[in-house]
Amino acid sequence: MDFAEAAVDTPEGRLAARVVAAAPGLDREAEAQLIRLLAPRVRRYGQRHLRDDHAADDLVQQVLTLTLEKLRAGAVAAPGQIASFVLGTCRRTVIEQFRGERRREGLLQRYADDLPLADLHVAPRLDHERVARCLERLAERERAVIVLSFYEEQAAGDVGRHLGLSAGNVRVIRHRGIDKLRRCVDAGRGMAA
């Protein structure tokens, strides 16, 4: 499946080029904008691959610290494709974390205060009571599959194995249930607003 972005001229690429052009000085405004743009993206990568919000926040700090360091030093080969550089750094950092390497601690101590992350975008939180009310409206199968899938973040095969369902069947039920659940939660939000 190809979801590749053809990054011809992107905001993050332009900002990265500004950071490089300012060296050996600093373009603080470009750096801050670049961090604001990239931080939520790196955080999502961390959420997916580290399954922990705190670890994801640490990943943001590590990856973006290194990114700025490399841009300032002119060590990024193609600043216009900074997203590719960041992705590679995310992958290497997560692998290093799994190997238990401690480089990140040294990086954080050196540069953590240098990152303007105070206004980092964080995914919204839903009202649990509203979610519960919407779950109640689902068919029993849909509710069971969604609870088992999301509570333990289990793949379809694992959920289905203990419910007498195939992985494919779990995915169909899950997708149908999520669609209903989202519509219900979103409708409740609209009414509350």
Binding site: M1, R44, Q47, E140, A144, L148, H162, L163
Partner: protein
């Protein structure tokens, strides 16, 4: 923005989040999310929904069929799980304690050959009424059905009896697989 791409869509992002996407698709979505904020927002909404479900269940607001493996995992994580195991035709005196976090009814049933499973739940003592749960998921080989109760709701209930009847349903009609009585004592 000057970009062109196929966007993965919500269903692919759910698969990605839950580990149901293959390695190549996962890598492709990793790369896409590093460049596409619209899909990032969609991903955030899925994660928020997942966290909302987790939170609602953790707070005891959701009743659902669960599995023995799921209950074992909750215990392994240190959650306080109270279980009541009821044989066919049996009964149990039950209650909940303040420290309980999850309340599970485990009921034995001969599920081999059952095409569809329904449950009829009726309560006494001021909570009269009958609720039918349609088409419960089950593992025929397990020989039991596990129901996680909405603990927050149960805590507020007075002493009463709950009778659960499990029904096998097929084109020819329905037959009772078992009847189970829970003598609930109010929380202290």
């Amino acid at each position: 923005m000057n970009r062109t791409a196929n966007h993965p869509g919500g269903l692919a992002l759910v698969d990605y989040w839950l580990g149901d996407a293959d390695a190549a698709t996962t890598e492709a979505i990793d790369a896409h999310l590093l460049a596409c904020d619209a899909c990032g927002a969609e991903f955030d909404a899925i994660v928020a929904l997942a966290r909302g479900v987790r939170g609602a269940f953790a707070q005891g607001r959701v009743a659902s069929v669960v599995t023995a493996a799921f209950v074992a995992q909750l215990k392994a994580e240190g959650r306080r799980v109270r279980e009541y195991h009821v044989p066919r035709g049996g009964s149990v005196v039950c209650s909940v304690a303040p420290e309980d976090e999850v309340l599970v009814s485990r009921i034995d049933a001969p599920l081999a050959g059952v095409a569809r499973l329904d449950a009829v739940v009726s309560r006494s003592h001021g909570l009269e009424g009958e609720e039918r749960l349609h088409d419960l998921p089950f593992d025929a080989a397990a020989g039991e059905v596990l129901l996680a109760n909405a603990l927050a709701e149960v805590r507020g209930m007075p002493a009463h009896d709950t009778v659960v009847r499990l029904l096998a349903v097929d084109a020819g009609g329905e037959r009772e697989l078992g009847r189970y009585t829970f003598h609930h004592r109010a929380s202290t």
